[in-house]
Symmetry: C2
Subunit: 508 residues, 2 copies
């Protein structure tokens, strides 16, 4: 609900709102502006806050956001002190964010004080991001602050670290940018056909044989912990994907008897296909692998993949065909895939994880969340999944790995995930959207300019009220400002069109 | 001419040649490999060399290439000394490269000595680049060197610093990458409609009013000198473009009476069009501006633009129409543009500069070099220009500012600039090709991954023998290697396809 202001005030209100991206769902605003001074400013805990000094998430967020609010912290006159007081209702300081974490917050700013109230520390982190975006440096070098109240919801970004290896630093930088954009799930498509960079304790050969390089192109356990911990402090969940039975060529290098031997003219051709679903050893291997993965990745969701399984190798293999007969599948290889996925879902369910699969698997399966990725009528698919009573994540319209001119950002902005015929209950099953950055043509050299600010367009779609953010022309200058803000914070976000930022990107 | 080797040798020879991009026009090679050790290696001047210690170009090139040859300069056993001895026939150490500069060189390597002979220091710089690309580190951490003899020719890269401002550091980094790719002309499209970042001594208001910001978004005289000097040491010419009469909106902010006032319904509309060709003051202004530009930029070529002139504003203006009548042009505004360009060419000719213009102007003009940029049958246009006896530069197929998937590099590779019907003499008039990086969607955040390695595909087309470099499949692994080499040297060149480099890009 917008509090109605007089015309002149409303204009100012809109101008002020330009400063926050993605736009909050709800807010009220006044015309006041208050000066800030780095020497007399501090973040503090509210008396009624359950979390107090010592809360890892908020202590580190205060430190981070102080630098973001005062990027040029130099001298200044001794103004009256200004306190930003943060209070939360629950002490989740040592937990991980999860699917039920509230990200609501209330932020109000008055002359010498900002008050930020949230149910959880994750909501407080979102509110701090907003607070940092509200502070401007005006021409007389004083800091000015405005005021809002609101709350919201969102989803994630997929990075593919198999087609190209992304150094840990690159992942951390992406997590920074995600926090600035209020994305809250990092979907780590960590392994795939080309390489297996995850260093497993249980099966060390998977990376020592399957990574591009066994020492320099892997994620050690400590790398993974670092990513998870860095994400946690920013209120971001880490959702690991170990895609099978297809997309597993690299798995075969460090483990024997896992992949299906393909046959040509009745004899093994020497090549391998998807995971072999006919051998009991396959499921023993998967049970051990997912047991490790479940304990390394604290999130309660796990992505099992299941996409693009090529049946031709299975079809060529006489042992698979015998197994099909035995199981009564006839020649329906979709049934074989369903059997395989069912078994893997059983494994992860026993580990108390919620399984997510790509839409390919949906037809055979009813105990999973479904990610819709294929082009075409993706809303038809979303509707189908929701009608079946399953939760759904939409990725199709946000495949950003293909380079496009930045001006196509509006394509990512004008997506309406709920524009299908369905009940309110069905629409509530659409739990988020995901930006996918596949790795065929992307590595650390071009990831950031290709991802930002195009993913920011998706961020506002997923975070903000559709009715208030449907106009591309209104969004354009706000997105330009926000892109300059990203550049100022060291994110190599590419330009939208002719123009300039006060502080240009300098690192080359 | 390839020296014929036995089959086995030829295979090895090709494998060795993979190491050099763009491929030299001519070479012979042996199978020998020689160890190098940073502790016992040094560059030196040959006894017969005209240039000796104190030659700025070569002294600084030795320093640069030592680091490039030994990027991990650490300890090593005391091997026998290895000398790379450079000799040149002419002492151009304090000159600028020009259109007649020979870039030929001979490089031969034997057990303890490399001998590099060139006519000029510019050829020696090219040979040093090749030398640096021939040195490999094998698994036993010894440096290995191979041997060739050859020589060649090439052209440039256009950067647009008006639509977005590019910090000087970004330009210098691009000059580094150009030297690695043996590009030898930096076409500096320095001003245009959106901004005028060149700080003129004669007309300081042009940048103080016409730049995006009068202090932070300009090129001072010392910035320009730094770019020219940095380019010179790398054998790169700096070709400035001051495009008129169109593309001059930003010029109008800092100077009065230069642009044509547009009229609507018989009265001035308050907007301005191209430069006003009807006023004598226009030519006085241009004479003074180009006098300054001619002395600041030492190159003997100057680019005058002349593209995309919109006649509607001229047509609306009664003073222009009166001038047309007086001059006998009737209503043919192309004649007016020809008259204007003729006057500008007269000004620059008097300053002893050779003028280059975009193809739009060719039809009216016979004393210029022509740059072909329009899409469509660009070879038809090349042929037309060559038949008219004018020199021509081809840019149409190399507009790299539009983002495209990296795998479209082959589009830039399979261009045949001489595939038109014409005499040998006409074909000799095609003096080079140019990669254009326009600035609508490009600034320091995304310039490098968008430019490299796609521009490298053009580099080989322009530098190498067509008959030896027509096969995309053969070029692909070589280009992949070269792209990793660029990344290793700190150039943020994007990947061509799934895979990895030994040293990934780390800067984020």
């Amino acid at each position: 609900r917008i509090t109605l202001l007089q015309l002149e005030q409303r204009f100012l209100c809109f101008r002020q709102l330009e400063g926050v991206w993605p736009l909050p769902q709800d807010f009220t605003s006044s015309m006041e502006q208050y000066p800030l001074n780095p020497h007399t400013f501090h973040f503090g805990y509210g008396k009624q806050s359950v979390a107090q000094r010592g809360c890892s998430v908020l202590d580190s967020a205060f430190k981070r956001y102080f630098s973001l609010v005062f990027p040029d912290y130099s001298s200044g006159s001794k103004d009256k002190p200004f306190t930003a007081e943060i209070s939360v209702d629950h002490d989740h300081c040592d937990d991980y964010p999860n699917e039920e974490s509230s990200e609501r917050y209330n932020l109000s700013v008055s002359e010498r004080k900002a008050v930020l109230n949230a149910e959880t520390v994750w909501g407080a982190v979102r509110g701090l991001e907003t607070f940092s975006q509200l502070v401007y440096q005006d021409d007389s070098a004083k800091f000015i602050i405005l005021m809002y109240v609101f709350n919201t919801f969102s989803w994630g970004i997929l990075l593919d670290t198999s087609r190209h290896f992304l150094p840990v630093q690159t992942i951390l930088k992406t997590l920074d940018a995600m926090a600035y954009n209020k994305f809250n799930v990092f979907h780590w498509h960590i392994v795939d056909d080309p390489s297996f960079p995850y260093q497993s304790c249980t099966f060390p050969n998977l990376s020592s044989k399957g990574a591009f390089h066994p020492m320099t192109h892997i994620y050690t356990q400590s790398d993974v912990r670092r990513v998870i911990s860095y994400a946690r402090l920013r209120g971001i969940r880490v959702l690991p994907e170990f895609d099978s039975p297809g997309h597993t060529s690299s798995w075969g290098k460090g483990t024997s008897n896992l992949l299906t031997p393909c046959y040509r003219s009745g004899i093994p051709s020497g090549t391998f296909g998807p995971v072999n679903p006919a051998l009991p050893s396959t499921y023993q291997f998967m049970a051990r692998l997912f047991q490790e993965v479940s304990s390394v990745f604290p999130d309660s969701f796990i992505h099992l993949g299941g996409d693009e399984v090529d049946f031709s190798c299975w079809r060529s293999n006489p042992d698979i065909r015998t197994f099909m007969q035995k199981m009564g599948f006839g020649v329906d290889f979709a049934k074989l895939q369903a059997f395989y996925m069912e078994s893997i879902v059983n494994i992860t369910s026993a580990l108390k994880k919620t399984s997510i699969v790509w839409q390919d698997v949906f037809d055979y399966h009813k105990r999973v969340m479904v990610e819709v990725w294929r082009a075409g009528c993706y809303l038809c698919e979303v509707r189908k999944v929701a009608k079946a009573g399953l939760r759904v994540i939409l990725a199709s319209p946000w495949y950003l790995d293909q380079p496009g001119p930045t001006h196509d950002w509006a394509r990512y902005y004008t997506v309406w995930p709920l524009a299908f015929k369905g009940t309110d209950k069905q629409k509530k099953l659409v739990i988020g959207g995901e930006v996918c950055m596949w790795g065929e043509y992307v590595d650390a050299t071009n990831l950031t300019p290709r991802l930002w600010p195009r993913a920011s367009a998706a961020a506002e779609r997923l975070w903000s009220d559709e009715r208030r953010t449907s106009n591309v022309d209104q969004a354009f200058p706000r997105l330009q400002d926000f892109r300059c803000k990203l550049v100022r914070r060291g994110i190599q976000a590419e330009p939208l069109y002719i123009g300039h930022c006060k502080h240009e990107f300098q690192g080359v």
